[in-house]
């Protein structure tokens, strides 16, 4: 429960804000009187949608235009129409399951790598995040400290994350040092395919899980306590209380976590790039790196191709998310 002391500090700090909000209420009431509730709906939506439209939708639209035009020019008018050429180039394959048979072999390698990465990373991370959130939500002392512990990596920039873990995983890093203490064979974490993939998954979980833990923590707080009390009276073992009470009631927030985790996993890039550079070989080459290299890093940029690739990637995501949301709706209906 929020303590009184904090309320007073908050009250002092928020006094001007409150005054402002009260002042806003006067025109708002007037507006509500004229426009009714539908008018208020648009009022609440418009600021966000304006900014959103300007800085998300318009660029998205430009992006679509990019994907069907060629050249390195920035202005749409300078770009020549190439139709589906970029898409053809990306999709041209003898066998879509064998990247080597594709014209853009790297795109397909990246695509399959991404799919593999997403499934591994998202599933492991969500389990990890849920467990951590449950534990942090439990009766533990120094809760703020523990939250900070798990949230800390989120504060780091991807470059630093990559750097730290490179240090730990490199040939003579801490991990091998520990293995050495146990007389075990050193492992080339970053130069052997399986290990490097595991490392990439692990590091990206490390870097992001705090983010999801926090969302889940907030979600857990929204579950009325008395339900747990009822469950306890019903003799519910903790595990079952989790499956039958916590999970269903956490669902709206868990959905946020799943969708965001999915999206971010598909967009995996920075820290893995710093950590492994996409290697060994191409085993950690993911779509965003591919797009980044095509669109930016290579000196002869090809924004059109990058846009086409990103649109393909986005459509995969949209399908995945729609499936997710469909699932929820079905659940809601039930």
């Amino acid at each position: 429960m929020i303590s009184n002391e904090k309320t007073t500090i908050g009250a002092v700090l928020s006094a001007p804000v409150r005054w402002l909000a009260e002042a806003i209420d006067i025109p708002m009431r007037w507006w509500q009187g004229i426009a009714g509730r539908p008018g208020m709906i648009s009022f609440f939506l418009i600021p966000n949608l304006l900014i959103f439209g300007m800085f998300v939708l318009v660029p998205l639209f430009i992006n679509i235009v990019y994907s069907v035009t060629g050249g390195t020019e920035l202005f749409l008018s300078d770009r020549s129409y190439v139709g589906g050429a970029h898409f053809n180039r990306l999709l041209e394959c003898e066998n879509h399951f064998n990247p080597n048979s594709c014209r853009e072999d790297l795109f397909w390698i990246a695509l399959w790598n991404t799919i593999k990465f997403v499934f591994t990373q998202v599933s492991v991370m969500i389990v990890f995040a849920v467990i951590t959130a449950l534990i942090l939500n439990g009766k533990i002392r120094a809760r703020a400290f523990w939250r900070a512990v798990f949230f800390f990596p989120v504060l780091l920039s991807p470059v630093v994350v990559g750097l730290i873990w490179q240090w730990m995983l490199q040939r003579q890093g801490v991990f091998n040092f520990i293995l050495f203490q146990f007389d075990a064979q050193a492992i080339n974490w970053l130069t052997e395919r399986t290990w490097a993939f595991g490392a990439a998954v692990g590091v990206s979980i490390w870097a992001h899980v705090g983010f999801y833990v926090l969302i889940l923590l907030a979600g857990l707080q929204a579950i009325p306590r008395d339900l747990y009390e009822a469950a306890e009276m019903d003799g519910t073992p903790p595990a079952r209380a989790f499956w039958r009470i916590t999970l269903p009631l956490l669902w709206p927030n868990l959905l946020v976590v799943i969708v965001l985790a999915l999206i971010r996993a598909v967009q995996v890039f920075d820290e893995v790039y710093v950590l492994t550079g996409g290697g060994p070989g191409t085993s950690n080459l993911y779509l965003t790196q591919y797009i980044y290299e095509v669109g930016f890093a290579s000196i002869l940029r090809n924004p059109g191709l990058a846009s086409a690739a990103s649109l393909i990637m986005a459509s995969i995501l949209v399908v995945l998310t729609l499936a997710q949301l469909g699932l929820t709706r079905w659940k809601d209906k039930k």
Binding site: P59, Y66, L155, I164, W206, A218, G295, T321
Partner: protein, 351 residues
């Protein structure tokens, strides 16, 4: 030990419930894996460039011990080494110079006699010490105050706008039924999918045509409409009982007041989460400000910090030090805001 008893408390009173074991194991694991690197980071930020490059790395920062020894009449600072040659007790000698694999060393007590030592027989004498220069130099040369202000401005304004616009939109999308609601929602979620890096070029042209290049607003505005925030808040608001809104309507509250007096306070945990995220994101934002801001008086800390990354060389010692320094404000913000992620209360007003 005190700290341990403080940090530990068990579920079943004096007995160990299995959940206690899991909890402790998990927290311990978290402490090492999640937090261990933080310690390394802080320690490393105090290491000299040479020590940073060193294999195998040490946890603590060290500096080499030196002594003042008269060499050919003048006093010189010489590095100290521990020398262990076979059959002799280890001794501390100062190295005058090294030629190939042989080092010419002297006993500081007897600087006249030169002793030749194989370099494999000596190890430097080091003590824990901080390379404060890593911090001092950038803070001195680098317009830290200005960058800090720019960062604070960008972060603060962007966070406030994000919280307000996103919560308003989330309110509309969660508590009203209207036609097109699902379409808007879908659009928002769908646009989450486009990777930022791809949208950057088009976004650049939009911002450029709005004349927002080299303006902090050009950094702020494109980031505040995050679909993430809307989605996060909306899902959280779904868990607030509608009956409270109804009560407020009976109390003659306007829709704005329902938003402001009922929804916002009850969404506090999610708002706190979003505020933390927004602060962390905006504070650490790098790619986008880098593009919009090319004038140093507008640089944010992250952009400024990045100037230590050259083409061929990255000056990690400065980057690490400045990473630690720039992290402090966000850590404080986190510590301040995380307390709002407590005790959800929405349900307790109902029978």
């Amino acid at each position: 030990m005190k700290a341990i008893t403080f940090l530990t408390r068990r579920r079943g009173g004096d007995t160990w419930h299995w959940t206690d074991v899991v909890t402790f194991a998990w927290l311990g694991f978290g402490l090492i894996i999640m937090f261990g690197p933080a310690i390394w980071l802080v320690m490393s930020s105090f290491k000299s460039p040479a020590q940073l490059a060193e294999f195998p790395p040490t946890i603590l920062p060290y500096v080499s011990e030196t002594v003042e020894v008269p060499v050919k009449g003048t006093m010189k600072e010489l590095p100290l080494y521990t020398v262990t040659t076979e059959g002799e007790a280890p001794r501390e000698l100062a190295e005058v110079r090294r030629v190939g694999i042989i080092a010419n060393m002297v006993d500081p007590a007897d600087p006249e006699t030169v002793i030749k030592v194989n370099i494999n027989d000596r190890t430097p004498v080091r003590r824990v010490g901080l390379a404060l220069e890593n911090y001092a130099k950038p803070l001195r040369d680098f317009n830290f105050g200005l960058y800090l202000w720019n960062s604070v401005f960008v972060t603060g304004v962007a966070t406030i706008i994000t919280l307000i616009t996103n919560s308003m939109a989330a309110f509309a999308l969660s508590k009203y039924d209207f036609r097109g609601r699902n379409a808007v929602l879908l659009l928002i979620v769908a646009t989450l999918m486009i990777p930022i890096s791809v949208n950057i070029v088009p976004l650049y042209s939009v911002v450029s045509s709005l004349g927002l290049l080299n303006s902090l607003w050009g950094v702020i505005l494109p980031t505040v409409a995050t679909p993430t925030g809307v989605f996060l808040l909306r899902q959280y608001m779904l868990t607030i009982p509608d009956e409270l809104l109804e009560a407020a309507r009976m109390d003659k509250a306007s829709e704005w007041q329902i938003y402001w007096r009922i929804i916002l306070p009850l969404t506090a945990p999610a708002l706190a989460v979003l505020a933390i995220f927004s602060v962390v994101w905006r504070w650490n934002d790098f790619l986008w400000p880098l593009i919009v801001l090319s004038r140093k008086e507008l640089f944010t800390l992250q952009v400024g910090l990045n100037t230590f990354a050259g083409e061929l060389n990255v000056q990690w010692h400065f980057i690490l030090a400045m990473t630690v320094a720039t992290m402090i404000p966000v850590v404080l913000v986190f510590v301040f805001l995380q307390r709002y992620i407590t005790a959800g209360i929405a349900g307790t007003g109902l029978k």
